[in-house]
């Protein structure tokens, strides 16, 4: 009975406190947030930016409490939210350009119709 108990306890501990991970994991998530900020994430993807920041904070806390596995997961979840925020920002800008151009085409078409009547198209 005793050895099993000890084995169980060991197992539980290793799950939480393996080797201290490379601090670069946090740095990389931090840099991803900065890149997302520069891409306009706060305007175009505020939800993802918020998750990215919250998860990085939790990852830092996890690191301090030596919950390394959870901390690494959280750092990566933070980073992928920044990545998504960058993509969303770029797509929001391209969507805006499409809408602008569509509008100016409609305006030009209306102007030309007014000038040339039915002969235009």
């Amino acid at each position: 009975m005793k050895p099993i108990l000890i084995a169980l306890i060991c197992l539980t501990f290793t799950a939480c406190t393996t080797v201290r991970p490379d601090p670069a994991v946090l740095e990389s998530a931090e840099q991803a947030i900065q890149a997302a900020e520069a891409a306009g994430g706060d305007e175009f993807a505020p939800v993802e930016m918020r998750f990215a920041r919250e998860k990085l904070e939790s990852a830092k806390k996890g690191m301090q409490k030596e919950k390394y596995v959870v901390a690494v997961y959280l750092a990566e979840e933070s980073e992928i939210n920044s990545e998504l925020a960058i993509e969303k920002s770029r797509t929001a800008k391209s969507r805006r350009r499409v809408n602008e151009l569509r509008k100016s085409n409609e305006e030009l078409n209306a102007r030309l119709r007014a000038t040339f009547g039915d002969e235009f198209k």
Binding site: A38, L84, E87, L101, K121
Partner: protein, 328 residues
């Protein structure tokens, strides 16, 4: 005595084991994420775009599906797969926009070219009319001379018309080019604006946000309505502005407004109250600019508490309106 103890231990150990192996809730999450990827791949407007990102999402999802081991690891993999799919979807949308931009730019210069052709046609017709007029009113000799002159003039004019039509085509090209640089400026301006927009984030920090299976939920606390009332309190509408800012960042997603109450009072009355409140919030959001065809309201009554109904603190948390940005 000793035997019963052994039995209890055995039951406990079995219980623990089954808790690890059967995890139907996780599988539901996985199924939902799988559904999202299938959705993206079969979407007629987006299918075929961003193949690399879709492939990456597919690999992330497989990894989650194959994973054995602890729940923490698996839910992490499911989360990563979900985000990869959203990234792929966003990139596919952008590629679609870029294609639309090409088409629109082509349409623009085609319109300008067509317009310059029509203008040249008009000029030719005018010249023809002038020549006929002169021909019928002048003396014979005069006419002969004038016709000669006119013919020369005509030649010159049609040369000019041809010249001006060429010039106009050139102008159309230049316009198209200047449009391209305008787009570039617009992009630069957007970048600058976004650098100055951090104030918006600060506002959003006041909102209660959480991620759920159905999407991101914004919880509006117990401050919008007076007790028993179904119209927004004064100032309630303006406090919804930051919610609208957030909703407008996801213009393609549907929105569901859910009213909830605490458990005091009659359940039917609570259901009605929650529905009327959800509707009031919906109307306020629409009046602040949210498109009415993407938003719906629902009364949930008292059946979905997020805190205990035993004390006033918990009841206050249960009296709320959830605004949900639906994933699909």
């Amino acid at each position: 005595m000793n035997r019963t103890l052994t039995k209890i231990t055995l039951v406990l150990v079995l219980g623990l084991l089954s808790a690890c192996t059967s995890a139907p809730k996780k599988d539901l999450a996985l199924e939902r994420v799988r559904g999202e990827l299938d959705n993206l791949k079969s979407n007629p407007e987006l299918a075929g775009y961003a193949p690399m990102a879709v492939g990456e999402a597919e690999r992330a999802l497989r990894k989650a599906e194959m994973a054995s081991g602890d729940d923490l690891y698996r839910s992490y993999l499911v989360y990563m797969a979900d985000r990869r799919i959203q990234i792929a979807r966003t990139m596919a949308e952008r590629e679609q926009h870029e294609q639309a931009l090409d088409v629109l730019e082509k349409q623009y210069s085609e319109m300008l070219i067509k317009a310059s052709q029509l203008e040249a046609d008009y000029a030719r017709k005018d010249a023809e009319q002038a020549r006929l007029l002169v021909a019928t009113t002048a003396e014979e000799a005069q006419r002969a001379r004038e016709e000669k002159e006119q013919a020369q003039q005509n030649e010159a004019e049609s040369a000019r018309a041809a010249q001006s039509s060429a010039e106009e085509a050139e102008q159309a090209r230049r316009l198209a080019e200047s449009r391209a640089s305008e787009a570039e400026y617009a992009r630069l301006e957007a970048d600058l604006a976004s650098q100055q927009i951090t104030s918006l984030t600060r506002q959003l920090e006041n909102l209660q946000l959480r991620e759920t299976e159905s999407g991101v939920v914004v919880t509006l606390g117990d401050v919008l309505f007076a007790s028993g009332q179904t119209t927004l309190v004064e100032g309630g509408r303006s406090s919804l502005e930051e919610v609208v800012d957030l909703l407008q960042t996801e213009p393609d997603k549907k929105i569901r407004v859910e009213g909830h109450t605490d458990s005091r009072g009659d359940a039917d009355a609570n259901l009605l109250l929650s529905e009327q409140r959800a509707r009031a919030v919906l109307e306020a959001l629409v009046s602040l600019g949210v498109a009415s065809d993407r938003i719906s309201a629902l009364g949930m009554g008292e059946d979905f508490p997020i805190a205990s109904n035993e004390d006033e603190d918990g009841r206050a948390r249960n009296r709320r309106v959830d605004v949900i940005l639906l994933d699909n």
